[in-house]
C-alpha cells in the first residue's frame, strides 16, 4: 500500500536579499547544500573548460608559440585536477545530496551539520588549489600553479624536481576537498541505510539511490588511500622523509600503485551516478519500468568490486612483467560484463516503449551512444600490446573524454534537465535544450573523435608544441573547431538556466508524470521535504497512487 502526503505550494514567498544570503550561508538543508555543490561545480566547469580551450588554441597550429611550455604544463594539470575533483565530485555529490533524501522519503540527510561541514571543506579545498596562482610563486624558477599532471607521479613531485610550493597546494587542496567527499559518503551511507521511509525496503529503492550507496562505499574505500599517499608525499617534501625518494631506497613506482588504486575506482565514482541518472530518466520517458532492476543492482555492486582490482592497467608500460600485465588485462575485461548488462537493460527498457523525446531523454540517448564508443576504446586499451603502442598518446585522451564528456556530461545534462524543475519550480526551455544537445554532440565528436587518429599517428599527450611535418595539424585543427560548438552548447545552457529561472513555465509537482518519491512533494520542496512522511508499497509509489486500480504493489514488486 502507498500513502502520499498532501502538498502546499510555497513558490511565491518573497524576502529581502540579506535574509536570503544569511539563509544560504548558514543552511544545513540537504537541498540548498546540493544546489550550492552543483552551482560551484558548474562554475569550475567553466574555469576548467577555458583551460582546455586555451590548450586547444595552442595546439591548433604546428610550431605555435601562443603559450609557453611551462604555462601549458600548468594548464593541463589544473584542467584535469579541476575537472575530476572540482567539477565531477561536487556536481555528482551535490545531486546525490539533493535527491537521495527525497527519493527515500526522508526529511534530511542523517547528519545535516556534517553535510554542511563537508560542503565548506570542499570549497576551502578548491580555493586552496586555485590560491596557488597567488601563493606559490616566490622561489626563482618555481611554477606558479601545479604543473605535475593530475596524477602527479612521484618522484617527479619530490622537492628536488618540483620546487616552490605549487605541488604542496595541489596536495592540500585535494586532501581537504577529499575530507569533504568522505564526510558526504559517510552521510549518504547512514542516510540510505537508516532514514528510509516506511515500506522503502532496499530492493524498492530507486536505482539512483542504489548507485549513490555503492559510490559512497567506494569513496570510503579508495579516497583514504589517496589521502595516505598524499600524506607520504607531504612528509617527503616537508619533513625530509623518503617514501618516494629513490636516492635513499624509495621506490619510483610505488606512488603509481597507490594513486591508481584510488584513480581507477574514482572513474567509477564519477560514472556510477551518471548511470543512476540514466536509470531514472530512460524509464520515465519510455513509459516503462526499468528492465531487470535486480540485475542493475547486482551489476552496480559487481562494478564496485571489480574496480578495486584493475588499477595497474594504467601502468602497462611501466614493466610489471607478463604475469601482472595479463592479470590486470583480464580483470579489466571483466568490467565490460556488468557494464554490458547495464547497457542492454537500458536498451531493453527503451524497446517497445512509448518514447518521449524531451531534452532530458535526448541527452540520455546521447549518453548511451557516446558511452558505448568510449567503452569500446577502453577495451582496446586493455589489450596490453595495443596499450604499449598507444599509452600516453592522444588516443587515450580521446578515450577518456568520450567516457567522461560524451558519457558523464551527457548524463549530467540529462539529470539537470530532469530535476531542474524539482529544484526550482520552473521548467527549462525544451527548444534551447535540444539546441544545446545537438551543439554538444557535434562539438564533442569534432573535438574528441580526431584525437583517436592523431594518437594513432603518434601524437603524445601533454605536448605543447609539434613540428609541421608530423601530419597531426589537420586533426588538431578539427579538434579545436569542435571547441567552439561546445562553448556554444554550454553558453546556451547557462542562458537557458537564467531565462527559465525568471520566466520558465511553472513545473507543478510532477511535470514528467514520473514515479519516484521526489515528485510527490512540491517544486521546490519545503524545508522538511514532506508534510507527512510517505509510506510506499512498491518501487513506483507514484504509479500506485495514480493507478489505484492496478498498483505495482499488487504484483509484489
Amino acid at each position: 500500500m502507498t500513502t502520499l502526503p498532501a502538498t502546499t505550494d510555497r513558490m511565491d514567498e518573497r524576502r529581502p536579499w540579506t535574509a536570503i544570503v544569511h539563509e544560504w550561508a548558514t543552511t544545513v538543508d540537504h537541498k540548498k547544500l546540493g544546489i550550492m555543490y552543483v552551482v560551484t561545480g558548474i562554475i569550475f566547469l567553466v574555469v576548467a573548460g577555458l583551460e582546455g580551450s586555451a590548450m586547444r588554441a595552442q595546439l591548433t597550429f604546428a610550431e605555435n608559440k601562443l603559450i609557453s611550455p611551462e604555462v601549458f604544463n600548468q594548464l593541463f594539470t589544473m584542467h584535469g585536477t579541476t575537472m575530476v575533483f572540482l567539477v565531477g565530485m561536487p556536481v555528482l555529490l551535490g545531486m546525490a545530496n539533493f535527491l537521495v533524501p527525497l527519493q527515500i522519503g526522508a526529511r534530511d540527510m542523517a547528519f545535516p551539520r556534517l553535510n554542511a561541514f563537508g560542503f565548506w571543506l570542499f570549497l576551502l579545498g578548491s580555493i586552496l588549489l586555485y590560491f596557488s596562482y597567488l601563493g606559490a610563486p616566490g622561489l626563482d624558477g618555481a611554477a606558479a600553479a601545479p604543473d605535475v599532471g593530475w596524477f602527479a607521479y612521484a618522484p617527479l613531485t619530490e622537492r628536488p624536481f618540483s620546487r616552490g610550493n605549487s605541488t604542496d597546494y595541489w596536495i592540500l587542496g585535494i586532501m581537504v576537498g577529499g575530507f569533504g567527499s568522505m564526510t558526504t559518503a559517510i552521510n549518504l551511507l547512514a542516510t540510505t541505510l537508516s532514514m528510509r521511509c516506511p515500506g522503502m525496503t532496499l530492493m524498492r529503492m530507486p536505482l539512483l539511490t542504489w548507485m549513490m550507496l555503492v559510490v559512497a562505499i567506494l569513496i570510503l574505500t579508495v579516497m583514504p588511500v589517496l589521502t595516505a599517499a598524499q600524506v607520504m608525499l607531504l612528509f617527503d617534501r616537508s619533513l625530509g622523509a623518503h617514501f618516494f625518494d629513490t636516492q635513499n631506497g624509495g621506490d619510483a613506482v610505488f606512488w603509481q600503485h597507490l594513486f591508481w588504486f584510488f584513480g581507477h575506482p574514482e572513474v567509477y565514482i564519477l560514472i556510477l551516478p551518471g548511470f543512476g541518472f540514466i536509470s531514472e530518466v530512460i524509464p520515465v520517458f519510455s513509459r516503462k519500468v526499468i528492465f531487470g532492476y535486480p540485475l542493475m543492482v547486482a551489476a552496480t555492486v559487481a562494478i564496485m568490486f571489480i574496480s578495486l582490482g584493475v588499477w595497474a592497467h594504467h601502468m602497462f608500460v611501466v614493466g610489471l612483467g607478463p604475469f601482472l600485465n595479463s592479470l590486470f588485462a583480464a580483470t579489466t575485461f571483466l568490467v565490460s560484463i556488468p557494464t554490458g548488462i547495464k547497457v542492454f537493460n537500458w536498451l531493453a527498457t527503451l524497446w517497445g516503449g512509448h518514447i518521449r523525446f524531451t531534452a532530458s531523454m535526448m541527452f540520455a540517448l546521447g549518453f548511451l551512444a557516446m558511452f558505448v564508443l568510449g567503452g569500446l576504446t577502453g577495451i582496446m586499451l586493455a589489450v596490453v600490446p595495443f596499450d604499449w603502442q598507444l599509452s600516453d598518446s592522444y588516443f587515450v585522451v580521446g578515450h577518456f573524454h568520450y567516457v567522461l564528456i560524451g558519457g558523464l556530461l551527457n548524463a549530467i545534462f540529462a539529470g539537470l534537465f530532469f530535476w531542474f524543475p524539482k529544484a526550482t519550480g520552473r521548467l527549462l526551455s525544451e527548444t534551447m535544450g535540444k539546441w544545446s544537445f545537438w551543439l554538444l554532440q557535434i562539438g564533442f565528436t569534432l573535438t574528441f573523435g580526431p584525437m583517436h587518429i592523431s594518437g594513432i599517428l603518434g601524437m603524445p599527450r601533454r605536448i605543447a608544441y609539434y613540428e609541421a611535418d608530423r601530419g597531426w595539424e589537420i586533426w588538431n585543427q578539427v579538434s579545436s573547431i569542435g571547441v567552439i560548438f561546445q562553448i556554444l552548447a554550454v553558453g546556451l545552457f547557462a542562458w537557458n538556466v537564467i531565462v527559465s529561472l525568471r520566466s520558465g513555465r511553472r513545473a507543478g509537482n510532477d511535470p514528467w508524470d514520473a514515479w519516484t518519491l521526489e515528485w510527490a512533494t512540491t517544486s521546490p520542496p519545503p524545508e522538511h521535504n514532506f508534510d507527512t512522511i510517505p509510506v510506499v508499497g512498491s518501487r513506483r509509489p507514484l504509479w500506485d497512487s495514480k493507478h489505484p486500480d492496478d498498483p505495482d504493489s499488487s504484483y509484489g514488486a
Binding site: 537508516s194 607520504m232 619533513l239 623518503h242 631506497g249
Partner: protein
C-alpha cells in the same frame, strides 16, 4: 490506496541507527587509511640504504607492556559501557577512568620509546626508510589513540557534571567502537612492526 496502517513505529523494515552506520563507515574509511601505511611499511622492510635497522634499535620489552595496557583498556571500556547501560553511573565512571589511564600509559610509553630512539640511536623520520615508515605508521596510530582519549575524557568530564545518563548508553558505545578499532589497529601494527619487520631488516649493509 490510502489508509495504510503502517507507521514509522510499526514499520517492519530493519533500519540500523544512523549513529552505528556513521561510525561503521568512519571505521571502514580509517581502516583503508591505515592499510596504506601498513602496505608501505611491509613494502619497505629491509630496503633502508643506511642503518639503524629495526632489530638494532627496537626493544620488545617495553612495547609488550605498552600493548598489554592498550589491550586491557578495551576490556575496561566494555565494562564501563555495560555499567552505563545498566545505570550504574559510579562503576561507569570508575572503569572509564581506568580506560583513560591505560590509554594514557600507552601514549607515555610510546613517547618514551620515541625519545630513546631519537636521542640514543639517532633515528628520525629523515634517517632512512625504516625511520620514515616507522614514525608515520606508529605516529598515526598514536594520534588516533590521543583522539580517542580526548573523546573518552570528554565523556568522563560530562559524566562528572551529571550530563551522561543511562539513556545515552547507545551513543557512548559508539565511542567505544572507535576505541576498540584503535586497539585492533595496534594488533596489526604490533605484528607488522615488532614481529614481522624486526628481523627483516638485514638485506642491505
Amino acid at each position: 490506496m490510502s489508509a495504510a496502517p503502517v507507521s514509522i513505529l510499526t514499520d517492519p523494515i530493519a533500519r540500523p541507527s544512523r549513529g552505528k552506520v556513521g561510525m561503521a563507515s568512519l571505521i571502514l574509511m580509517e581502516s583503508c587509511f591505515f592499510a596504506t601505511f601498513v602496505v608501505a611499511y611491509l613494502f619497505y622492510i629491509g630496503k633502508s640504504a643506511t642503518g639503524p635497522q629495526p632489530k638494532d634499535v627496537l626493544d620488545l620489552g617495553p612495547v609488550i607492556v605498552n600493548s598489554i595496557a592498550l589491550f586491557s583498556s578495551s576490556y575496561t571500556a566494555i565494562r564501563s559501557f555495560r555499567s552505563l547501560a545498566t545505570g550504574a553511573i559510579r562503576a561507569f565512571q570508575g572503569w572509564l577512568l581506568l580506560t583513560i589511564l591505560l590509554g594514557g600509559y600507552f601514549i607515555v610509553g610510546t613517547g618514551m620509546e620515541w625519545y630513546g630512539l631519537i636521542t640514543k640511536h639517532g633515528l628520525t623520520i629523515t634517517t632512512n626508510l625504516f625511520g620514515t615508515t616507522f614514525y608515520s605508521l606508529v605516529g598515526f596510530h598514536a594520534f588516533h589513540v590521543i583522539v580517542g582519549l580526548v573523546c573518552l575524557t570528554g565523556i568522563l568530564l560530562l559524566s562528572l557534571r551529571g550530563h551522561v545518563k543511562k539513556s545515552d548508553a547507545g551513543r557512548v558505545e559508539l565511542v567505544g567502537w572507535y576505541w576498540h578499532f584503535v586497539d585492533a589497529v595496534w594488533v596489526v601494527v604490533f605484528t607488522v612492526v615488532y614481529l614481522v619487520g624486526r628481523d627483516g631488516g638485514t638485506l642491505t649493509p
